[in-house]
């Protein structure tokens, strides 16, 4: 696979994720979008680790996955707590901290 294809694929995935994070009101869907952005980056890491024969990139991917898992655990917990007793999963309803 040519190098450019990987980069373009990764960029598309990242942009798609970014769009999803902004366009969705549902926090679960936003999480999924953000997850997609993580993995777009991971893809680039893995490709270049392979390309340059440097395992550092692969190790970094493990770190990213670990952090992402932690983030999801905390994030989902927060979402469950924040939306307990609400009818819709709509992030725009959470604005009590605005200035």
């Amino acid at each position: 696979m040519p190098e450019i294809a990987v980069i373009v694929l990764s960029a598309l995935l990242f942009a798609l994720g970014g769009y999803g994070a902004m366009a969705r009101k549902n926090p679960l869907q936003m999480f999924m979008a953000i997850e997609m952005m993580w993995n777009a980056v991971n893809l680039v890491f893995i490709y270049f680790a392979h390309r340059f024969g440097d395992v550092g990139g692969q190790i970094f991917v493990f770190v990213v996955i670990t952090v992402a898992a932690a983030e999801v655990a905390i994030g989902l917990g927060t979402v469950v707590l924040a939306f307990r007793g609400r009818e819709h999963l709509d992030l725009d309803e959470l604005d009590s901290l605005k200035g």
Binding site: M22, R24, K25, L91, D92, S96, K98
Partner: protein, 627 residues
Amino acid sequence: MQTWYVYAILLLPLVGFVLNALFGARLGRAAGWLGTAAVLASFVVSALAFLTGLGGHPASLQTTWFTWVAAGGVAIPFGTLLDPVSLVWALVITGVGGLIHVYSNGYMAEDEGLPRFFAYLNLFVFAMLLLVLASNFLILLIGWAGVGLASYLLIGFWYTRPSAVIAARKAFVVNVVGDLGIMIALFLLIANLGTVTFSGVFGAIAAHHLSPTVIEWTAAMLYLGAMAKSAQFPLHTWLPDAMEGPTPVSALIHAATMVTAGVYLLVRAYPIFHAASIVSGIVLDIGTFTAIFAAVIALTQNDIKRVLAYSTLSQLGYMFMAVGAGLYAAGVFHFLMHAFFKALLFLGAGAVIHAVGGEQDMRKMGGLRKAMPITYLTFLVATLAISGIPPFAGFFSKDMILGELLRSGHTVEWVVGVVTAGLTALYMMRLLYLTFFGEYRGDAHPHEVGPVFTIPLAVLAVLSVVGGFLAIPGGWDVLSRYLGPVLGTYPGGVTSAAVSAPDWGSEVISVAFALGGIALADAMYRRKVLAPSRLRLAFPLFYRLAAHKFYVDEAYDAVVVRPALWLGRVLGDRVDTGIVDGAVRAIATGTVEVGTFFDRLQAGSVRRYTLTLLTGTLLVIAFLALR
């Protein structure tokens, strides 16, 4: 002399103060005797120090308790100095003070604030002892401010009386002016010498390490302090008002001890004042003016305590005449005699006030001679003593000052002093006649006071009779010899003793003036051949001026108080609310405005935050890429 003397003298009254302050309410009347015992014990130790020190060479005992301030090159010890000069003062403070404490047990017996009163009195005695026992100017200043505080507390002792509270505040404010002077003097000494210990400063002056200008300014600032504390014109106005305090306070603080702190300071710092001839001249002139000025006012007052207050001013004038002319031993001598007879006068006046039910107006007294024979007799002794009739105490001390003034060529001051001596006799005999002679004009039932009153009166009366024999013109001069080692350490201290010039001219003239004053008072107030109103009508303007105390208070009101109030109002209403508050409010409003503007960024929409974040990231990337 042994070191423990100074610890005991200084700390016993402090212990009395602490005990009375903490447990006085539970002790009740016993609090008075506790406070009295503390001061009397201190007196016993002082007397012991005096007796053991006088036998051989009167040594000076310098003790460093600990280093109090150590900053850079300046180290100021917390130190005490017990030498003949401070011992004379310590003896008066604890001795006369002890008698006044005894007397207060009777005078304040029915006052429920008695424990508080004695706590304050003990605090005063401690502060005053600290003042006279200090071995450097900084410790002296602590005592100086301490006696000011005690004076404030005691003048305002009856704090439910508005006049007492106002008088206390006035005394405090005027005294702080003086404290400021001493602080400036301290700064001058530290800046120029790096030391404030007496020995260090005086040694440097003797060795000509200070420029004459600095010496003059230091002396002037020290004199400013002395002027406020010793109520010299024009800072005298607080002392007559201070009579709002209980009478024992007037006797102890505003006659015998605290107001003489200024004299002490000038005697203690005599090497400075000897080197500062301009300031010494001013001290002499202001002292002379205060002496006659206060004596004239005293003639016109009707409140018994106010007459005595102006009399104190006048006598302090004599003391400052002495120290201003370099007659330090004579100044100390007059301080000592004055402490005896003026404390006696105040305690006598207190007994009278007590007997006639709190009345202080002499026009409502009279005829008390028969009702109060002991008080009358002691009061008569004190009156003769202050009038300068031989052989009572005042004759020797006042005439030592006057004689020395004449012989050292201060003729004008001498004339004023002699006239003042005549006026002194006149106003004191007026007081005596109005109070003790004629018919009783009040409506109480005067009675002789008890032994708690009369014993201190009797002791002070004896001292007022025999005290003067410490120095006899043409005879011996025990006091100058005793003070000699201190006053002889540096140049300018030792004055020609009374022994050296047995010249009777001055003495004869001043006694003649005193007798003239007595004769005039006798004609006006006893035989009534010369009505006081005729004199009043003969000099209407002058009488008006004197009766209104020469409008000094009114002048202060116009020159200081009202401009200060005006300035305060302008600063408060215009500058503070307008400019300062305006600036603060502008900052607050501005902050809110800015906050409201940026508030829009925090709309609470997570998706918009994400967009902002992404935009920012893209901008950074673009910036890095295009750089």
